[in-house]
């Protein structure tokens, strides 16, 4: 979506509210319901699609504060787009401190209003000038990123094989990036610790791959980066997480099909081709991995997933996996592989997994 169309959407919304008020009617804002209950799993395209449930925010005594904040946030977005500037979510929160009584008390308040607006316009918040504060992910391996130097506007090439023991960091906006690579696959890793181990032993050199650390649930930018890289260079994506409901449902599922919260942009911000080769319930048994008991919150996640997550409902493999985990009452972290030697993961686990596509999960 071009900037002009964002501006006209903002203006259109404001005009409608203005006219309603002048006609002495209560104005309304309509936006899609952002929740896992309002997404459908498009199995052909492979991502969560926004459902057709909407919530309407009518301006009443109880909603006047949020209503005022939404309009102020729109106004801020308009200024940002017009002046080609950006504000982080945190900065937007601080800007609200000038709004007198309409200021946000905590950042989650301003984040929610921002998410509402982007869902309302069905755009990505970056298009409205808002960028996240979150870490985008670390990259190492057989990849050269072609970026633009912000000071000179000239093309600049970043060779990810020459990062030494450090890494390339995914920026918050990735649309302008181009890639040069001959890698065989992308390996997305849940923890920074495992990523560092693989970098330290130059795993990417031997396996000819690109390593990306997700650092928990991947940020939008990170998801988009992997998607763009995978699509443009036709490289498969493998995901390596812990063997627990959080690793499977929150990290892997969000990377692969997107989230309920940002369903309106999932189409571009997920990696439907990703495959799971992380720790499975089977692995815990086969490799005799040291494990921890499942926590109550893990079990709750499984129950929720079985009941509400369209992705789990679509894949019997995942249901089987989750059931088995609950039966075993165990979970294992990816670093538990260290029990068989620090480099067991490099020498045995990953090569075996890669060689055996049947051990992957969808």
């Amino acid at each position: 979506m071009k900037e002009q169309s964002i501006l006209s959407k903002i203006k259109e919304t404001a005009t409608k509210i203005y006219k309603e008020i002048m006609a002495k009617r209560k104005p309304q804002i309509k936006m899609p319901l952002r929740s896992l209950s309002n997404v459908n799993y498009d199995s052909k395209e492979g991502y969560f699609e926004m459902g057709d449930e909407f919530k309407e925010r009518t301006l009443t005594v109880n909603t006047i504060k949020t209503f005022a904040q939404t309009l102020k946030m729109l106004s801020l977005s308009k200024t940002l787009v017009e002046t080609d500037d950006i504000a982080t979510k945190r900065e937007a929160y601080y800007i609200s401190k000038n709004w007198g009584d309409a200021k946000f008390v905590e950042q989650p308040g301003s984040d929610t209003v921002m998410d509402d607006i982007e869902a309302m316009f069905m755009v990505n918040r970056e298009q409205m000038g808002f960028i996240p504060d979150e870490h985008g992910g670390s990259v190492s391996g057989e990849l050269t990123v072609v970026d633009i130097d912000p000071s000179t506007n000239k093309e600049i090439k970043i060779d990810c094989t020459k990062m030494g023991t450090g890494s390339y960091s995914v920026p918050s906006r990735v649309e302008h990036l181009r890639f040069e690579t001959n890698a065989n696959f992308i390996l997305a890793i849940e923890t920074q610790g495992m990523y560092e181990r693989l970098v330290k032993h130059s795993y990417w050199k031997n396996a000819n791959c690109i390593l990306i650390s997700l650092n928990g649930v991947p940020s939008r930018a990170c998801r988009r980066f992997i998607r763009k890289l995978s699509d443009e260079k036709k490289i498969p994506v493998y995901v390596f997480t812990d063997g627990d409901p959080y690793g499977w449902l929150n990290i892997y599922r969000t990377l692969k099909v997107g989230s309920g919260n940002a369903a309106h942009i999932n189409k571009y911000f997920c990696v439907p081709s990703a495959k799971f080769l992380g720790i499975t319930a089977r692995d815990i048994v086969d490799y005799d991995l040291p494990s921890h008991p499942l926590k109550d919150i893990d079990i709750k996640r499984v129950v929720d997933g079985m009941k509400n997550d369209p992705f789990v409902k679509y894949h019997p493999e995942w249901q089987k996996e989750l059931n088995m985990l609950v039966k075993m009452k165990k979970r294992a972290e990816q670093q538990a592989l260290a029990a068989h030697g620090l480099n067991f993961v490099i020498s045995d686990y990953l090569p075996k997994k890669l060689a055996n596509p049947k051990s992957w999960l969808p």
Binding site: K11, I17, Y18, I21, M22, K24, L59, V61, I64, L74
Partner: protein, 545 residues
């Protein structure tokens, strides 16, 4: 051997005088500690003064003064405008324990046993050695009698230290001066608090109080109406136990059981007497002196089995709803008051009336437990709150539905003062110090009913107030955010100031119309006025019997 010891013991066995007994057990009468002592001394003197004034139909005007004489030494002076005491009685009333006019009658009064004031005199004597000084005058033409008294603790009899006739400007009245060992503090359970609470339930009395710091507080009377004089009644058969019955049988001047019952008891008509005697299988014409122990037991049993109408209740003089309200309003500023006087009820043959009053709001503390003021026969009860039937009943009442907070097993929390008054010919106290009311189920039931009546009124007020404050809050809420909606639209659409104002006006109209705030406000206003009207017009309705 045993015989020898018995004789030896016999040498040591002798009568213990009440005064001696008290000397060792002063806590029984409210002299447990120095702080409480000063309160007890003042309380006994003031209670007596009020009783005397009311009996003589004089509007009480009582002066209380406490002077600090030295370290932990105080002089307490209480002076009233009562009828005065005849010369011969003065020594006995003040310097003989268990001497009084009230023990043998069944009539609502503050005093009961005739022990309080003489105990105070004894306390003064024990702690400072000083005699108590009494001045009393019975008529304007007479001179006043002045006494300085000690108590002979072995004989429980007065020792007159000085006896004189003095000039006193007052028309009539009594003044008592005692030097005691004590410590003075303000706050709960203080003389100040006692007098304030006394003023609440005695709106017909004026009390002028000068504390040890020479600060004077005047609790002025808010009514010139004396309490209705309580009538003396005879005991009701249900309240009589075996020992008392035997004593009464011995003392009576009636010649037959029939006339004994009819004349010496309440509610014993010839038919009822006949029924009791038949059940006990004793002829009604038996001489009372011939009734032996077994027969008396049969009589008691027969009384229990016979249905006898409740005692007359004109012996009780409740404060009344209106006076209770006026008393509370003058001492405790709040924004809402409600009061109720229950119809008379009976426990163990003793009639009683429960009254309740609640003050709510204003500057009363919102965060702490409600302030409970307990009274029995117009006397504040300041100690032993936990052991009292009033406290128990308040805790057992569910206050959440009446607009106060309450965790289980605790007093409610909120900006309220709860007053409960028990008026009875014989309030059942848990101890001689008269600090807590005993847990009779009939009494607890009545207290709860009174609390519920007031509670319902309170709930109506609190809920209304909550609604109004919600509406006001919403109104100010609208005004707080309104400008931001207009301001944001102005920024978004590049509107003029004028257009912004028009947006705000229009929006305000939309929102207030939907809230109907103004309507609620007017309705609230009318209703509260109406309610005040009801309180003013409702007359105290007092059931008889």
């Amino acid at each position: 051997m045993a015989e020898e010891i018995a004789y030896k013991l016999a040498e040591k066995q002798k009568e213990v005088s009440v005064a001696e007994f008290f000397e060792r057990n002063r806590h029984l009468l409210g002299f447990d500690n120095k702080r409480k002592a000063i309160l007890t001394v003042v309380k006994e003197a003031v209670d007596n003064s009020l009783d005397a004034c009311e009996e003589a139909k004089i509007l009480p005007e009582i002066k209380v003064e406490i002077i600090e004489m030295g370290e932990e030494r105080f002089r307490a002076i209480v002076e009233d405008n009562g009828p005065g005491i005849v010369k011969e009685q003065i020594p006995k009333i003040f310097a003989k324990l268990l001497y009084g006019s009230k023990f043998h009658t069944l009539k609502q009064a503050r005093g009961q046993q005739g022990i309080g004031i003489s105990a105070a005199v004894l306390y003064a004597q024990l702690t400072t050695g000083r005699p108590t000084k009494i001045t009393s005058k019975i008529a304007s033409k007479n001179d006043a009698n002045y006494y300085e008294l000690h108590i002979n603790t072995q004989k429980n009899s007065p020792e007159i230290v000085k006896d004189a006739v003095v000039q006193w400007k007052k028309e009539h009245g009594t003044k008592i001066e005692m030097d005691i060992e004590a410590s003075y503090q303000k706050g709960v359970q203080s003389v100040d608090e006692y007098l304030k609470e006394t003023a609440i339930v005695n709106p017909h009395a004026t009390i002028i109080y000068t504390n040890p710091k020479a600060e004077q507080v005047i609790f002025a009377r808010s009514t010139n109406e004396l309490p209705k004089e309580p009538k003396e009644i005879k005991p009701h058969p249900y309240g009589v136990e075996l020992g008392i019955l035997i004593k009464m049988l011995k003392a009576t001047e009636n010649r037959t059981l029939q006339s004994f019952f009819v004349n010496d008891f309440s509610r014993m008509g010839p038919t009822t007497v006949k029924e009791v005697c038949e059940k006990a299988a004793i002829p009604p014409n038996t001489k009372p002196s011939e009734v032996n122990m077994q027969m008396a037991e049969r009589l008691i049993k027969a009384i229990r089995e016979t249905k006898i109408i409740a005692p007359p209740t004109d012996c009780i003089s409740p404060i009344g709803k209106d006076l209770l309200l006026s008393g509370l309003k003058k001492e405790i500023p709040a924004e809402f008051y409600t009061a109720t006087t229950r119809p008379p009820s009976v426990y163990r043959g003793m009639p009683f009336v429960i009254e309740c009053c609640i003050a709510y709001g204003g500057n009363l503390d919102k965060e702490s437990s409600v302030n409970v003021l307990r009274f029995a026969n117009r006397v504040p009860l300041l100690y032993q709150a936990g052991a009292c039937a009033i406290t128990k009943s308040i805790i057992a009442t569910s206050w959440r539905s009446y607009g106060l907070n309450q965790s289980s097993g605790a007093l409610p929390v909120g900006p309220a003062v709860i007053v409960v008054h028990l008026a009875s010919v014989w309030p059942p106290f848990t101890s001689e110090a008269k600090e807590a009311i005993a847990h009779y189920p009939e009494i607890i039931k009545e207290i709860k009913l009174a609390l519920q009546e007031c509670g319902r009124e309170l709930a109506r007020y609190v809920l209304k107030k909550r609604r109004v404050s919600d509406a006001m809050q919403k109104k100010s809420y609208i005004e707080r955010y309104l400008n931001h909606v207009g301001g944001a639209l102005k920024e978004l659409l590049g509107l003029s100031e004028k257009e912004e104002t028009r947006i705000n006006d229009s929006l305000k109209e939309i929102l207030e119309r939907s809230r109907k705030i103004e309507e609620i406000e007017t309705v609230e206003h009318d209703e509260s006025e109406e309610r005040l009207g009801i309180l003013q017009h409702e007359e105290e309705t007092e059931g008889e019997g």
